[in-house]
């Protein structure tokens, strides 16, 4: 019961700061709000017995990806969005309608699938024990893992090729 309370509190925090991220006009403050949201999500991952993913969430997502965002924001010196004076009422109405319709559809789908209880397999021993996870990753999913390393190399080369100044060696 306490786990459920802690999980709900963490998710409330994550949702709150996700809202702050969307509402804020200044992109740097958006990134900082998203960092808080991702930390709260990491707490949720621990409670869902996935401590390795929680650690990766903090180290890779909050620590590396969002810091990369901050670097680029500082580099480009992006100003805060100014409120548009004429506004685009049609665009906003359509967007709001799409968001509400999407949220309703998502809830309906989750309601129908959330109740269905497939028989769970045997309970994994200790969630903090990483050996079964590592065994699975490096046996059944070894090909995907190696493909991932090639993808990261391609992304590295692609990012370098895109961001370098034209004409420079």
């Amino acid at each position: 019961m306490t786990a459920r309370f802690a999980f709900d509190a963490a998710m409330a925090l994550a949702i709150l700061f996700a809202g702050v991220m969307v509402v804020h006009r200044h992109p740097v403050k958006s990134v900082l709000a998203l960092v808080v949201s991702f930390f709260a999500l990491a707490v949720g991952y621990v409670l869902l017995s996935a401590p390795l993913i929680a650690a990766i969430q903090v180290i890779v997502y909050a620590g590396a990806i969002l810091v990369l965002f901050l670097f680029v924001l500082m580099l480009l010196n992006v100003p805060a969005e100014v409120r548009q004076t004429p506004g685009r009422p049609i665009h906003h109405t359509l967007s709001a309608g799409a968001i509400v319709a999407f949220a309703a559809a998502l809830l309906a789908v989750f309601r129908s699938y959330g109740a269905s209880s497939a028989p769970p397999g045997p309970l994994p021993a200790n969630p903090a024990d990483l050996a079964p996870l590592a065994k699975l990753l490096f046996s059944d999913h070894i090909l995907s893992f190696e493909a991932l390393s090639i993808l990261l190399l391609a992304a590295l080369v692609g990012a370098f090729a895109l961001a370098r100044r034209e004409g420079s060696p």
Partner: protein, 104 residues
């Protein structure tokens, strides 16, 4: 119900809320980097749903999938931000309303 006593409904509700907030951000923001951040949030909402089901079904496969999703998100962030840097160098802005080369 997960081993820790968290109902799967709570996880899915939080996931749906986060995904909808991310969608709202992607639709309503005009700054390209804010849109990108919203997309990252949507990806995390999906991760949360995957981990919720993995935990409820006592499966480790879900954690493997989320591991791959996070690695691909890292690659995507690197390439996307490089595109924004190149774009900013060309147009001096990353406001998506002012980037209209392909609009008619």
């Amino acid at each position: 119900m997960t081993p820790n006593g968290i109902p799967i409904g709570d996880v899915l509700l939080a996931s749906a809320a986060l995904f909808t907030i991310g969608l709202a951000g992607a639709l309503l923001r005009r700054n390209a980097i804010s849109i990108f951040l919203s997309i990252e949030l949507m990806m995390n909402a999906a991760n949360l749903a995957i981990l919720g089901y993995a935990s409820a079904l006592h499966s480790l496969e879900g954690q493997i999938v989320v591991f791959f999703v996070i690695a691909i998100a890292a690659a995507e962030a690197a390439v996307g931000l490089a595109i924004f840097v190149a774009l900013f160098r060309h147009t001096e802005t990353i406001d998506v309303n002012k980037i209209n080369l392909l609009k008619w």
